[in-house]
């Protein structure tokens, strides 16, 4: 639940969560176990194909929600179910309370339903005098604690067995042992009389199948079966997004949902209900059955060209399971009701801007969620888009506006960077790091040393350094990105060295500017668009075979985001398409285009670890190239744990949420140290800034090099042509 009024308060809550040792450990072991379990569950399956099919089928349903609703209603009513449609959360709660009142209900049992969390149904019913009992074990526990879930599938994952034992001792007024098996049985037996006495059962539904008017519940505990069997009245509260045309659509999703949620091939129970079934407890011998569909903004969403895809979500929770931030802070700080990446987005649409405004800033855009989403939702992109919307609605902060304005004009931006160079001089002590930052800048940044700006940016040395190539095989434009231009030009120079003498005609068009990703991360979509346009105009793609960048973040932004940012402009569309197609990252260029071989290097067998930048491995799907190059270069590649987990940089993220950035970095560096490496290689200057700065602070001697540097260091001499 979000209560913080601003980012400052929110950060305070995050700090408290970070201090919760149990939570951190629980989340860590979960993150690691989840990944292994998921991989095993999907082994031998075409996961991407399955996800694509799910996405397509969902998109089709979303595009005709009203039609499906009508069809469902017709068929369900023919079977004797009463079907209701609630426009708002409040209306849904009223309808359900009305059903309870009309049926003379006193006690209610519930099975797990995120939709009823969304509407805060329990609160409403309890205020009406009904006794409501959550019967899913996790929900039962958090209901007793009067708190919300911290995971969509494992609602009580933040609690320890000790806390549960204490809680159950209180409930039974008897001392309970701290033994999970026993505690589970205590819950079983405490809850059974609630089932026996209840006159109404409330469930959610994972699917509402239009063709037959059937709802389906995907569960493990079996409480959903009791909830839909014992009480004489059954109400299912269902989001309109759960409508699906046929059984086969549901069966397809069931192939992915449990595997992606908990690594199970299928859950213990899947229950398919059509119409009011036999019920001995009812005077009519049949149940009274109601299905309440909830709109609460879903129909508007379905028509939103950008955000309609959030309705594809099947609530598997995977996007939280892999999120490095969720792992640090848990669900209470990483969502309002809905949790994880999808939670950040849904909070805005279902619970409003105020609950979402801090949350959407707390995404590092690592893409881990998108890579596992059951429904192929572009989560990081949508989180940024919500952030941008909120800024459009409320106006952005002064510092954001200033930065964005500066980015907009390349000249102004570069002038600022150059004057920063002069200003930093008193703080460097002549070394490569900012040593003596005034306290006001440094107080949260002490977890890593910050590099000083380079003496001369790459662009100032280009004319001199430009290699002359007589018979070029490839014409290549370099795109430096800010960090390689102004902070680490030596890395770009190393790349130039690796390509030297291999018939690559290089150019560095001087009108290029920042790629614009930082603007997007700040929620400044318009500025990001402006900057993108400048770059596409600065580099004429028709003149080059490739547009090469040594920065993984720039590469993925130029390749993946530019078409979306600029593609709608008919005058630019063709040029942008060509531009994006030609963008390539350094490792892929060397491995796949230049095809350098073992003979090109004389490595010294240095023990080398690799960090896979988010924007390379997930953003561009480049996984093998850099690792193969490390091998070819004669370095001794030592795989480390969680190589493809984010380093915690995320550009402006690390300055906005330094505590989190520091913790993610710590984990990363621990793994690198454990690998026994002397050298750490990666593909992105942002990661290098973070990793190097962190190791420097730890006083660790492991060297951090861009892969271009690592290769340049061990090149075999090329005979001059």
């Amino acid at each position: 639940m979000q209560t913080a009024s601003d980012v400052k308060e929110y950060r305070e809550e995050l700090r408290q969560a970070l201090d919760n040792e149990f939570l951190r450990q629980a989340m860590d072991s979960f993150a690691v176990a989840y990944r292994a379990g998921r991989a095993k569950a999907f082994a031998g399956m075409d996961v991407d194909g399955l996800i694509r099919e799910i996405a397509q089928a969902k998109d089709d349903s979303i595009s005709r929600l009203d039609e499906l609703y009508d069809e469902f209603k017709r068929n369900a009513e023919a079977a004797g179910t009463k079907v209701h449609l609630a426009e708002t959360a409040e209306e849904a709660n009223q309808i359900i309370a009305g059903i309870a009142a009309a049926a003379g209900v006193k006690q209610i049992v519930k099975s797990k339903s995120m939709t009823s969390e969304e509407t805060q149904l329990n609160r409403h019913l309890e205020a009406g005098g009904y006794e409501v009992t959550e019967t899913d074990l996790g929900e039962f526990i958090i209901q007793l604690r009067h708190e919300g879930p911290t995971h969509m599938v494992l609602p009580a994952i933040h609690l320890s067995r000790y806390q549960v034992a204490d809680l159950f001792s209180e409930v039974t007024r008897q001392k309970q042992d701290v033994d999970i098996e026993r505690l589970v049985k205590v819950a079983r037996r405490e809850l059974r009389p609630k089932f026996a006495a209840a006159d109404m059962g409330i469930s959610g539904a994972n699917f509402a199948i239009a063709r037959t008017g059937t709802i389906a519940l995907v569960t493990n505990e079996g409480n959903g079966r009791l909830v839909t069997t014992l009480p004489r009245v059954h109400v299912a509260l269902v989001g309109l997004d759960k409508l699906t045309p046929t059984l086969s659509d549901a069966l397809r999703i069931i192939k992915a949902l449990p595997r992606n949620a908990t690594g199970q091939a299928i859950t213990s129970y899947v229950t398919w209900i059509t119409g009011p079934n036999e019920c001995v407890a009812s005077p009519t011998g049949k149940k009274e059955m109601h299905i309440v569909f909830l709109d609460n903004g879903r129909r508007d969403l379905a028509h939103d060209p950008k955000f309609a895809q959030v309705l594809r979500c099947v609530r598997c929770g995977a996007c939280a399971n892999v999120c490095p931030i969720y792992r640090m802070v848990g669900g209470h700080q990483y969502g309002h009701i809905y949790i994880g990446a999808i939670g950040l987005i849904l909070t805005y649409f279902f619970h409003g801007r105020d609950k979402a405004k801090n949350l959407v800033q707390n995404c590092i855009s690592c893409g881990a969620c998108k890579a596992v989403c059951s429904a192929g939702i572009d989560l990081p992109e949508l989180i940024k888009a919500v952030h941008a919307r909120i800024q459009d609605e409320t106006g952005s902060s002064l510092s954001n506006t200033l930065l964005a304005q500066a980015l907009k004009s390349r000249r102004l931006f570069h002038v600022l960077l150059r004057s920063a160079k002069l200003l930093q001089r008193p703080f460097t002590g002549g070394g490569p790091y900012l040593r003596h930052l005034p306290h006001m800048f440094a107080k949260d940044q002490s977890f890593r040393a910050l590099p000083a700006l380079a003496d001369k940016p790459f662009r100032d040395t280009w004319e001199e350094a430009r290699p002359r190539v007589l018979n070029p095989k490839w014409r290549v434009a370099l795109f430096s990105g800010c960090l390689h231009d102004f902070v680490f030009p030596e890395q770009l120079n190393a790349a130039v060295k690796v390509m030297a003498g291999r018939d690559v005609a290089l150019d560095f068009p001087l009108d290029q500017s920042c790629c614009g990703l930082p603007a997007l991360m700040m929620g400044q979509a318009a500025v990001a668009g402006d900057v993108a346009r400048q770059n596409v105009m600065a580099i004429d793609p028709s003149k080059f075979d490739y547009i090469l960048t040594t920065c993984a973040s720039c590469a993925s932004h130029l390749k993946k985001a530019y078409p979306t940012l600029l593609g709608h402009d008919p005058q630019l569309a063709a040029r942008v398409a060509e531009f994006s197609t030609k963008v390539i990252d350094f490792s892929s260029f060397v491995q796949d285009v230049l095809k350098l071989e073992q003979a090109d290097f004389i490595g010294d067998g240095k023990k080398t670890a690799y960090h896979a930048p988010c924007h390379l491995c997930r953003g561009l799907g480049v996984v093998a190239a850099p690792r193969e190059l490390i091998g070819k270069a004669g370095l001794d590649y030592r795989q480390s744990e969680e190589e493809d987990v984010c380093c915690g940089f995320g550009g402006t993220y690390s300055t906005k949420f330094p505590e989190l950035s520091a913790q993610i970095l710590k984990k990363k560096l621990d793994h690198v140290v454990q690998s026994g490496a002397e050298l750490l290689v990666t593909d992105c200057p942002g990661c290098i800034l973070q990793l190097r700065g962190g190791l420097e602070r730890r006083g660790d001697a492991i060297q951090v090099r861009h892969i271009a540097e690592a290769l340049a260091d061990v090149l075999t001499e090329i005979p001059a042509k």
């Binding site: 629980a26 072991s29 176990a33 079977a79 004797g80 899913d136 074990l137 526990i141 494992l154 009580a156 609690l159 067995r161 409930v171 039974t172 007024r173 008897q174 309970q176 042992d177 999970i180 098996e181 505690l183 589970v184 205590v186 079983r188 037996r189 405490e190 059974r192 009389p193 026996a196 199948i209 037959t212 059937t214 493990n220 505990e221 079996g222 409480n223 079966r225 009791l226 839909t228 069997t229 014992l230 059984l247 086969s248 069966l251 069931i254 908990t262 091939a265 299928i266 213990s268 129970y269 899947v270 229950t271 398919w272 209900i273 059509t274 119409g275 079934n277 036999e278 407890a281 049949k286």
Partner: protein, 209 residues
């Protein structure tokens, strides 16, 4: 190996992977004997293992008190089969019931059902549960013994789509997919069986041809 043997092996492997006990029987009578024997050997209330002595609140404790005899419920059987099973139960001093399961919400020892279809790919049982007593037998029993005719075994849910669709079309209809025992991982992600439903699932593959 024939196709059927392969399917049986595949199903068995998948069902065992989710903690189901799988055995094969040649005739229904053997399944009855298995069930009676299992019940006879079983503690009166298996929750004992997990602490009947464990302190409960008064309401829950009271419901638990109502249990005495060992009870098997077999609501789905036809008259002749029910008779046969009943004789076996009497010989061992067990009680066999077929209706009014709501009177036994504290729990029964075994629920016995004959399954409609099996899905090998996931070790899943498909059971038409329109009858409330059948539904309850699979929910409130400590052990669910499920007899699965081999002729009803299929490779995947996709191969069953027509049959399932027909079950969805029943008005009303309550169809259950059952895979392994009732489970939870809600406390510290530690797997615990029997949180609300059966603690054990026994599947008897019946050579029905």
């Amino acid at each position: 190996m024939t196709n059927m043997d392969e399917l049986v092996t595949y199903f068995t492997q998948k069902a065992q992977a989710v903690s189901a006990v799988v055995a094969e029987v040649n005739e229904l009578r053997q399944a009855f004997e298995y069930t009676v024997d299992l019940c006879d050997r079983k503690e009166a209330c298996q929750l004992l293992l997990a602490g009947c002595e464990a302190p409960l609140s008064p309401a829950a404790g009271e419901l638990c008190q109502r249990r005495q005899d060992k009870i098997i419920a077999a609501p789905g059987l036809d008259a002749a089969n029910y008779q046969e099973l009943d004789t076996l139960c009497r010989n061992k001093g067990l009680t066999l019931i077929r209706d009014d399961l709501r009177g036994y919400l504290a729990g029964i020892d075994i629920g016995l059902t004959v399954i409609d279809y099996g899905i090998a790919e996931t070790g899943t049982l498909v059971l038409n549960s329109n009858n409330e007593e059948v539904r309850l037998a699979t929910m409130i029993s400590e052990i669910h013994v499920a007899v699965l005719p081999k002729s009803r075994l299929r490779q995947s849910s996709t191969d069953l789509e027509k049959e399932l669709e027909a079950m969805m079309r029943m008005r009303p209809g309550y169809t259950a997919f059952i895979t392994g025992a009732s489970r939870t991982a809600d406390i510290e992600r530690v797997l615990a069986l029997g949180v609300h439903g059966p603690l054990e699932l026994h599947i008897l593959l019946w050579e029905d041809r």
